[in-house]
Symmetry: C3
Subunit: 333 residues, 3 copies
């Protein structure tokens, strides 16, 4: 792939400065050593370290001097346009690999691409443009929407429904039994999990993530929500739209998560807890009780961010505080 | 599936009230909108929100008026009977899928059902009634007990032994090498892991969970213990009977966990720590030292629950406390 | 396998005492009941509990009386020599299993062993001595170095490079898309992940661990680093050499981790944070800011270990502290 700077300006809606004769071959990090690379720099300190790069994308208020550059209102977005054009999306050859085991009763659009060792069980419905990479397992009665990409080794237990334009990464498991047991005479008796999982459109699900089927009804993931790797979503959870759930986060059974909620890495939500729209929980924070107001929370238990920050600032002063109280006590009555 | 209310009363040992002519088709959540559904309500506030449901199961002290309902001493248990009858357990067709690769030296009961792309290595022994779903890997010398269900894509490294009536969910890995290394001259030298994993009867293991083989001897999981998704069990751990280990919990190498221990979501136990019978560790709590008394613990490090709760209640008052000490100091001697 | 005590002394460089006629068959734990077993005991309390074992390995300063034993400068290292000889490394038969799907354009050394249902995509290069166990997926353009062992069901997305003598455990996923999204008009737009993952020599990667590909450039793991199960390594992370990363640890995107860093179980590093060489983070600790000095840190946020320990010791005294301040206030001015 190769672009001139004016071509990149046109592609990204940016303004090109300098760089006559420069040919750009690839998007790179600002600190790369690549004269054919283009990077974006939103801050002076990044620009200062970008000398090894052929061209940079900067915002209007960050002058880049006479080196080849693009000026863009949103450098990151301009860079993303280049990434989108540079990217070769993973793609299977058309048709079905001869090793795939596809039940005759499955309803599969002719445009669906199926890799080696894929298993599709009876009654599954797979819409146009879907790609099922090697080793995918699509259980009985599953539904997969248009243009969804299912990377190698994804497991959809029976009756799971996945929307359109979703991306599911390797090793993800949707629809395993929710973790439900009844204590009876000192033993645990299994609560059969007869519900399922429903994933809306434009959802991305990370590698190794598990989303359990509901006891009854559905575990649901709203449209546009993005879930990272090794996340656990319990049974009967309702996760809203346009949420971001980062790596190793966990959501306990029957929790209700609003829209545009952000759970940072390893954040957690306890069973049955409700999280309002537009809440963020910082890394490692665990919501033990409902979070009813939009805003940022942090800690175990999750507290409003400012409060959690104050506590953290004060904790190292505990020893001093104790000393001071001792001194006061020694003063006598 | 369909039941009359008297039929459900007989099935569950409950008493039917009203509902002549009502036909129930399925168990549902109390807040479902389903006139052919039956739900259970243990509290008034759930009953108040259950108007959309055809029938409810209530305890004797929660009057449900003249709507169709069952009165049961344990509504949840009665509901479970219905779930058990409604549930179609996952089931493979009899025999072996022709794509399965099964070593001739494996000892496999004729009643075992084997799905597509299953691999069974030399010397494995698989007992009557076992189901091995697609992509399961049963290593050399493994033993799987009667009626155990192994969902798609489970990996049993060689010589792992699994008991009877176990359920193992997709992506679980039993018997990978324990994490053992010796520092020698600034490098890490692998400690060969020559032990194995032994899982007793009636154990359930969640999706993506990993249970490592022992360095020498065994990593063991006691009868009746239930383990959720994405749990890590280190090498040489001994996990007792009838324990409950929730999602993303972790147990460090050589830890000894008693019977009836409950680890909530993402609870942790450090290497070599011993946990007494009947201990519960709350969500996110990490036991850094032995917990010798039954009871509930919480926090990092895990403390007795009442203590941990007091600390949490007091932390937001730290700033005020500091202010008050300052005021006292200003009083002068 | 069987050894006499003098044979074991020669194997381990230790000195044999007693045990004429004793035949040792296997390495065991010190508390095993196995007269043909040998264990190591570094402490008196272990030796006291080792009566059931045929022979023990002790350091020079721990006298073992007249029972059969070896005296070794480093008992653990001596024991490891025995483990190494006792261990049968997992091994595939030579050649390719007939069910494997290997693209003709892949460059595969004749000595490579390939198990059932392995998929190798176009352009992959697999060096001498590599073993790919059942269900492994080697994406297009991947490179796997000499003598690397890839356990069942490992996923290498395209272009991932793995060094020599690595061990990758079941279910690990290398090269899934990094978790990158741009908020545009209230929705999240995917940032294409066009980089890759590079793993150096002598790295071990645990079961279920995920290492994401870089947005641009590489996510890298340094030589000799050992990673446990269910660890998440975000995109563009640089993890140094000879690090130890224990189970369920997590490293956020673009974090830079030095050499010889130790992350204990479920330790975490936030996006973009830098960790100096020779830092240790205790179990559950999360580094929210750069850790620039070698040493041990703990807590959320991670603090120097001594400070974190002091805070933990003082927290249970908070209630008492509050009482004492109240008493002081009551004294009057």
């Amino acid at each position: 792939m190769s672009w001139t700077l004016p071509q990149l300006a046109e592609l990204t809606g940016a303004e090109a400065r300098g760089g006559a004769g420069l040919v750009v071959h690839r998007p790179v990090d600002f600190d790369a050593d690549d004269p054919a690379g283009i990077a974006f720099c939103e801050r002076r300190r990044h620009l200062d370290r970008s000398a090894g790069v052929g061209a940079v994308i900067v915002p209007p208020d960050l002058p880049a001097g006479d080196r080849p550059h693009l000026v863009a209102a949103h450098p990151r977005l301009a860079f993303n346009r280049i990434l989108e054009q540079y990217h070769r999306p993973p793609s299977l050859p058309p048709g079905r690999h001869p090793t795939a085991v596809v039940d005759d009763s499955a309803d599969i659009d002719p445009s669906v691409r199926i890799g080696p060792f894929v298993v599709v069980e009876p009654g599954a419905r797979i819409a146009a443009g879907v790609q099922l990479f090697a080793f995918c397992y699509v259980g009985a009665g599953c539904v997969v929407g248009e243009d969804t990409v299912v990377h190698p080794r994804v497991t959809l237990y029976r009756e799971v429904r996945v929307g359109r334009r979703c991306i599911i990464h390797a090793g993800a498991v949707l629809g395993a039994d929710g973790f439900g047991f009844l204590p009876v005479a000192g033993k645990y008796r299994k609560v059969p999990q007869v519900g399922t999982v429903v994933v809306a459109d434009d959802v991305e699900i990370g590698a190794g993530t598990t989303i359990d089927r509901a006891t009854v009804g559905v575990t649901s993931v709203g449209a546009g929500t993005k879930i990272d790797n090794l996340v656990h979503v319990g049974h009967n959870v309702h996760l809203g739209e346009d949420c971001v759930v980062a790596g190793q986060a966990g959501i306990g059974g029957s929790a209700r998560i609003g829209d545009r909620v952000r759970l940072a890495g390893r954040a957690g939500v306890i069973d049955h807890v409700r999280i309002a729209d537009d809440v963020s929980v910082g890394a490692g924070g665990i919501a033990f009780a409902d979070l009813r107001e939009p805003g940022t929370y942090w800690g175990q238990p999750a507290r409003p961010f400012a409060q959690a920050g104050r506590i953290n600032a004060l904790l190292p002063r505990l020893a001093d505080l104790l000393q001071r109280v001792r001194r006061l006590e020694r003063r006598g009555p």
